[in-house]
Subunit: 123 residues, 2 copies
Amino acid sequence: MTWDLTADRPIYAQLIEQLELRICSGTYPPGSRLPSVRDLAQEASVNPNTMQRALARLEEDGLLYSHRTSGRFVTEDAELIRKTKNKLAHEQVQEFLQRMKDLGFEYNEILSIITDIAEELIK
Amino acid sequence: MTWDLTADRPIYAQLIEQLELRICSGTYPPGSRLPSVRDLAQEASVNPNTMQRALARLEEDGLLYSHRTSGRFVTEDAELIRKTKNKLAHEQVQEFLQRMKDLGFEYNEILSIITDIAEELIK
DNA sequence: ACTACTGTATTAAGTACCTAATACAATAAT
DNA sequence: ATTATTGTATTAGGTACTTAATACAGTAGT
């Protein structure tokens, strides 16, 4: 998975989201050690301060913890990760349905559009 | 429909999106006249310059046109509006599916989650 | 003719974000 | 012991966004 950053939103916010994704999807497994702030920053072509800011936020949420000199680790609380994953998924669905509704689509139309596009992706 | 603005993204970008929604959903019908820049800005609690910036962008896309002194109007090109609506819908679905996939969900799971939440919304 | 309203442009100031360049204390590795 | 690496903190500078305060030209309504 690569770092996908856009100019139209604060970088630190995008980093938070993508780090969450990596934790919730298991890319960074529970208890595993993350690359150092400096390495992560270089990976993402971002200033270490900006990466640090994102990491600090995930630490507030309990998804990460740091040992001052040995590095930073993913929580071993699998239940927290599961809850976070479900929360994020729920938010994604809610926002998606709301936007489609704002665009003027009915629920039936939304389902059929999703089905169509998903079939394209599969074939 | 009210103006929903968040601090975590540029306001002008959010205005562009919400104006697009109003045009594509028919809230602002084809050929209709929009409130003045100043009025729209006041509605949204935003500086007229910021609203102007968003409107200028929609003008570039052909969704709006302005008569220098009589006001600003929605295009009468219904086909353009339809295409824009479909483009936006397609983008929404693509982004949504991508994020759910990044979170670690399979297509079947996504469909079932959507169905569950949609049923909640209906009942 | 006059008034009010239209879109548009300009300038200045404040704020948030991002980067760069350091620095420091703690500890793992040697 | 020494060295390298860790997270963390600080300072300064640049950029983009937003607001505020104007100003101007064109035109519809009176």
